[in-house]
């Protein structure tokens, strides 16, 4: 398995080197439609993956007699931290600074992108290597860097596959699970040479051979990289220690070989003490890859003379998190450690695939996190709370006991009836969604693009134009898209179609 999306993971679909302004990681309509034809394969792959990981996880968890207590402790640590987040962030800043690092604060995606771009520019470099990171994907960092003439290379194998394919990740943990080996071989053959060392010739489709091709291709980049960008799984307030869990070693390459390391991390990732890691280092690997421990965990505190990067920058990212914090029911979503266990047990995710969620965060956690980080103004966000059967399996597996069904119901109420919410730090009253019916919202996300391909194209054009200007945001309805640089992909099958078909065949 590739690793731990909490930290890491920017699929950089939008920042693929050399992509044109109109390519935003979103296939044009006919392409998307063609992809939908492949659904059978996608769904079979997804089903296989989720069931395999699900069963392994259950075994890994059953090994620990105190799982419920670890889960309760993890929940309590996170809740406590969130209640005193201001204090712990200040403590973290002081500790990182004392250890030789520099801390930056970013209110939103634009600010974070600007900070990172300036930091890279200051090094004089035009290339960065990246550890996969959901936070950087959330803010569209690759695209922002590209606009500034800086190329970001994804180094996780799955992210590389996604990036080379101008594609989008479909799972937090195994982002390229929708691609099979022969597709990957064809991609490597066709694309690798354009970004660096070409694939060996001949190249077979054995996973071993393909991994070797990726190793050779990326090693060139690791050895010359001067700047790396990462996320993090945890930050320790007490010591200023940053923690990244991964499997392949690409994370270690990025975190230790370059001269400058820039980590972009959501403010909710802080924990109070070094000791608190004893909880999450037990629960995260088992929930995520179903291993007792992932192959590599890197912990660093500021900079160390003669070992690793000589400059370390930590960019603390808000981007909707404080708004989420203001909602007492919804705030528990900030406990998430991005293990992806909830995806693997979700019957809706299994059928719809990760692309259908129109966000970097797919599955049950995406259904509660995205509409909180972005607000429920857009159709996709208003519909996400309905992308669930409320079966509760996601809550049962969650290692920090996030009551996802509870938040879903809470957000449905907000969409349907309106109510208080916080946007950009200001308390507002959300009006009920216009012409809203629960059913309509539930199917809108999936039908949006089918119903309005013209709107999508217009949006793409506008966006392409806007990206050349400094603030890269669309006014009005397009805003939700550009806020995350993450356009909703045509889902494999709309929820309505799926519903009709499932009922039709099962009754």
């Amino acid at each position: 398995m590739t690793g731990f999306r909490g930290a890491t993971g920017a699929p950089g679909t939008t920042g693929t080197p050399g992509t044109t302004g109109t390519h935003l990681g979103m296939p044009a309509f006919p392409e998307a439609a063609r992809e939908a034809v492949r659904d059978g394969v996608l769904r079979a792959n997804l089903r296989h993956a989720t069931h395999t990981i699900r069963d392994k996880r259950a075994r890994a968890v059953a090994e620990l007699a105190d799982w419920d207590r670890l889960r309760a402790a993890g929940k309590a640590v996170k809740d406590h931290t969130l209640r005193h987040l201001d204090r712990y962030l200040l403590q973290l800043e002081a500790a990182v600074t004392a250890a030789g690092g520099t801390v930056h604060w970013a209110v939103d995606a634009d600010e974070a992108n600007r900070i990172v771009t300036e930091l890279v520019r200051a090094t004089g470099e035009r290339e960065v290597v990246k550890v996969k990171s959901m936070a950087t994907q959330e803010i569209g960092l690759n695209e922002a860097l590209e606009a500034a003439g800086i190329t970001a290379y994804e180094t996780d194998l799955a992210e590389l596959i996604v990036q080379l394919g101008h594609d989008r990740p479909s799972h937090i943990l195994v982002p390229a699970i929708h691609r099979n080996r022969s597709e990957i071989r064809d991609l490597f053959r066709a694309e690798m040479g354009r970004w660096g060392r070409p694939a060996p010739d001949p190249l077979g489709d054995d996973p071993r051979e393909l991994a070797e091709a990726a190793r050779l291709h990326l090693r060139e980049k690791f050895l010359r990289a001067k700047v790396a960008v990462s996320g993090a799984n945890f930050m320790v307030a007490e010591t200023g220690t940053i923690v990244v869990l991964e499997s392949e070693g690409n994370g270690r390459m990025c975190l230790t070989l370059p001269e400058t390391l820039i980590s972009v991390v959501g403010i909710e990732k802080v924990v109070p003490t070094f000791r608190d890691l004893e909880i999450f280092l037990q629960t995260l690997p088992r929930s995520s890859t179903a291993e007792r421990m992932n192959p590599y965990t890197t912990m660093w505190t500021g900079t160390t003379d003669g070992d690793g990067p000589s400059a370390f920058h930590l960019v603390l990212l808000d981007n909707g998190r404080t708004d989420t914090l203001a909602d007492e029911t919804g705030r528990q979503a900030l406990r998430c450690i991005r293990c992806s266990a909830c995806l693997n047990v979700c019957p809706v995710y299994e059928r719809a695939g990760g692309h259908a969620y129109g966000s970097v965060y797919p599955g049950p956690i995406g259904a509660v996190l995205s509409p909180q980080l972005r607000g429920t103004a857009s159709e996709i966000d208003a519909s996400l709370p309905y992308a669930s059967t409320l079966c509760g399996a996601c809550y049962d597996v969650c290692p920090v006991a996030i009551d996802i069904p509870d938040i879903l119901v809470h957000l449905r109420e907000r969409v349907a009836q309106g109510g208080p919410a916080t946007r950009d730090g200001i308390r507002v009253r959300i009006r009920p969604a216009r012409r809203h019916t629960a059913e309509r919202a539930a199917v809108r996300a999936s039908r949006l693009l089918l119903d309005r391909p013209g709107a999508l194209r217009a949006g793409e054009r506008l966006l392409a134009r806007a990206r050349r200007l400094a603030p890269r945001r669309l006014p009005g309805p397009g805003r939700a898209w550009t806020d995350t640089r993450e356009l909703p992909l045509l889902p494999a099958e709309s929820f309505r179609d799926w519903w009709t078909r499932e009922r039709g065949t099962s009754q």
Binding site: V77, F274, M293, T322, L325, G425
Partner: protein, 225 residues
């Protein structure tokens, strides 16, 4: 207002109940009734568990006493031409005339390191329950990159002294101010059709040598800092 001020102000508004005061919790409310150790083990059983868990992750595990170490290393390094090692380990290495030893130096470039075949290091401690070795950049371990770029890592663990049972036992023995690398088996990926492949970017081969009785050293955590 700076970004920092704005974020802190938003947090304070978000966590302060209407009309109320922000709390002053200490974290004492976190229940820590989870287990320190999963099961009772003798030192030998602890080492056996470490060996079993490492092997399950496809590390190759060897046991030797201090006297057998040279020969064992000689065999493990049979197909290597250049070996990198931290200075503190110099005396332990086999006297093969065919081997070129490369010291760990700050000035070494990543490209130079990439030409090294194998690396031998010690560790700070090892965790039995998870099959993990932890490196902290100590004098017998060197810089983080030397156990990453060469394709073959041989790690020496003093047993039973350096072996602890569990993650909760390990953390208090580690110094967060040092760069820490936790290693559980060789680099691996399952990104292509969930088929596990070793050695995408890190070393493809991880040999863990459990060095026994006659090589008794310091206890974990009792290292000089």
């Amino acid at each position: 207002m700076t970004g920092k001020d704005r974020i802190l102000a938003r947090i304070r508004r978000a966590v302060t109940p209407p009309g109320g005061q922000a709390g002053t919790g200490t974290g004492a409310d976190v229940p820590r009734d989870y287990l320190r150790v999963h099961g009772a083990r003798t030192p030998d059983e602890r080492v056996d568990l470490l060996a079993a868990n490492l092997a399950e992750y496809r590390a190759r595990v060897h046991r030797t006493d201090g006297d057998g170490l040279r020969d064992l290393l000689g065999r493990l390094l049979a197909d290597a031409a250049t070996v990198q090692l931290p200075p503190a380990l110099g005396h332990r290495l086999p006297s093969e005339p065919s081997l070129t030893f490369v010291p760990d130096r700050a000035a070494q470039t990543p490209r130079e390191l990439d030409r090294v075949d194998a690396v031998v290091t010690g560790c700070a401690l090892a965790i039995a329950e998870t099959g993990t070795i932890v490196l902290d950049g100590g004098p017998d371990q060197g810089r983080r990159r030397i156990t990453l770029v060469p394709d073959h890592h041989i790690c020496l663990v003093r047993v039973p002294d350096q072996v602890v049972d569990s993650v909760p036992e390990a953390l208090p023995l580690l110094d967060p101010r040092r760069p820490l690398t936790w290693i559980s088996g060789p680099s691996a990926t399952s990104d292509i059709e969930l088929e596990r492949v070793e050695g995408v970017h890190g070393p493809r081969r991880l040999d863990v040598v459990l060095v026994g009785a006659s090589d008794r050293g310091r206890r974990p955590g009792a290292r000089e800092r």
